[in-house]
Amino acid sequence: MELLSGAEMVVRALKDEGVEYIYGYPGGSVLHLYDALFQQEDVQHVLVRHEQAATHMADAYARATGKAGVALVTSGPGATNAITGIATAYTDSIPMVVITGQVMSHLIGEDAFQETDMLGISRPVVKHNFSVQRAEDIPTIIRKAFHIAQTGRPGPVVVDIPKDMTTPTDRFPYEYPKNVKMRSYNPINRGHAGQIKKAMDLFLSAKRPVILAGGGVVIGQASEELRELINLTNVPTTNTLMALGALAGRDRHNLGMLGMHGSYEANMAMHHADVILNIGARFDDRVTNGTDKFCPTAKIIHVDIDPASISKTIRADIPIVGPAKIVLDEMLSIVKASTKQLDAESLKSWWEQIEEWRGRHGGRYRTDDSELMKPQQVIEMLDTITNGDAYVCSDVGQHQMYAAQYYKFNHPNRWINSGGLGTMGFGLPAAMGVKMNFPDADVACVTGEGSIQMNIQELSTCSQYDIPVKIICLNNQSLGMVRQWQDMNYESRHSQSYMKSLPDFVKLAESYGHVGMKVDKYADLEGAMREAFAMKDRLVFMDIAVDPFEHVYPMQVPRGSMRDMWLSKTERT
């Protein structure tokens, strides 16, 4: 058997996992690892400018492909800088393996230089973490890390490696385990057949059914099955922020996103539904609004791979624990074989009601009262120019909600955003992670002048590796979502939400060797955006001035029911 050092085993194990790119930043504790990386060509390392970006790049790769992304950082500040990215992945159930350096074993606990207790710090935001205590365990630990990250409800796994575990002169026989068995970890691989049968009985007897698709459909690669079920049953469907693209944005069954900034028709349909089939959504607070008033007439079928997500906030009438894809498959065969069908008359009048809601308020914003470009117009233009096929990597704030509302995704896995944690600074590194792995695809980073500055240094990484993403910066010169809440709840006292002294983004982009564009008028938008996307091999930073007074609507009234919404600054349901 081949003898390898701990450092070489780490790199070889990554290769054996089929990892092409890892994202990271070197430092004292990981120098042996970086030396091992230098001496091979299978695993390519991407040097970021801040460790947070490394984790977001790995995370976005995972969101786009379903496979675990890998980040490598040093101990101490390298590890703590990675925490935000790890927490981002954890909250959205994204598979990721983060390798962190650690000070030498004999120094642990002695407050050594660049020592932090990474196991302790990361514990609440990882699916699991490992500390390497014996170098010969490295192959098994890395196999376990990938196994845990990618199966069941996915999530990030940290592997903390003390420097002396990677010493070049200590060599061990290397064999990469194909499989690992863990007696304490056996993810559920199918749903309970009886429960699924019961669920379909209820579903097919509904008069006002709604399907609610969550991130589990996208992460669980179950969009095809979902679409088939929808087409087969003609049931109106809404999705969470995490499931955009699970059903095509332009499909007539699609009511759009639900929840705090969900569409009028989606929220109304949820409120009036008699049966809700929730597949892979965890009923979080941005979806349910006031849980005591949530969907008063609905029976709830809840499919989730994580039993702890079921009946956590909303009690399920029929819980089903299992992977979305397998459960949907079984549901499909039941529906196909069943003599029972949804009552056509009821479904028809349900659809008429929904179309009436859709016609009344659906997808509306005003363009007539202002000279200024509306942010929604920019997203609609992006949708038009990229035909709903782009990877849209979003930052966090108003622009994120506009993108979610107005970009009509044809495909799943192309909406890349920090939904659960709401991490500003996610967008640019995420776009980079996607673009490196899908060089021929259109990849847009939809951001604002606030978010983009949280990881703006990555423009440098883009120069180094020629990553030609398109940055669509909706510049409203303020922290828009914060200001919206201040407008609505604090009598417009704009405490710290105004971004003074913004840089000249065009010059900034140019200083990194990229293309910068400034767009002030709607009339110039289409030409400029087409030009930007035509520059296939250049990063283009589009600084687009938009109406700073615009608010995101609909917006649910706090602690109300699903149907309690503000529809504009002056209208309420």
Partner: protein, 164 residues
Amino acid sequence: MRHIISVLLENEPGALSRVVGLFSQRNFNIESLTVAPTDDETLSRLTVTTIGDDRVVEQITKQLNKLIDVVKVVDLTEGEHIERELMMIKLKANNGTVRAEIKRTADIFRGQIIDATQNTFTVQMVGSSSKLDAFIEALSGASILEVVRSGVSGIARGEKVLSL
């Protein structure tokens, strides 16, 4: 309602901190916690008593089950079970009357005096938590110097076992 939850845990470094961390992270209450290795040295057995409504206790058992180091979880209070807690209590016993009174009370509760000095008694008692509470209550006349309790250990009655 009070629940006694038993957990079989991989005997790995950091495993206990995952359990304790889970409780504070999710705002679950811990009344008592005991942990020690079992006859199988790769496994620890942990008993936690907690107070919560059905929804909270359901979440506690589900979230515990999700921890990778957790092998099995059972809520003992769902079935017939036995619970025991060990207490050692040091009391001021500096005159004959007090000493006799403590001795009498300890006998009633089937406690043993396991250490004595001229001025103190140390009583050991095993029983359910409420029995230990009752003993402390019954000693209200005496002056308590120190109390140490082990936390609850529990086991199911009958043939039910919690093992691999």
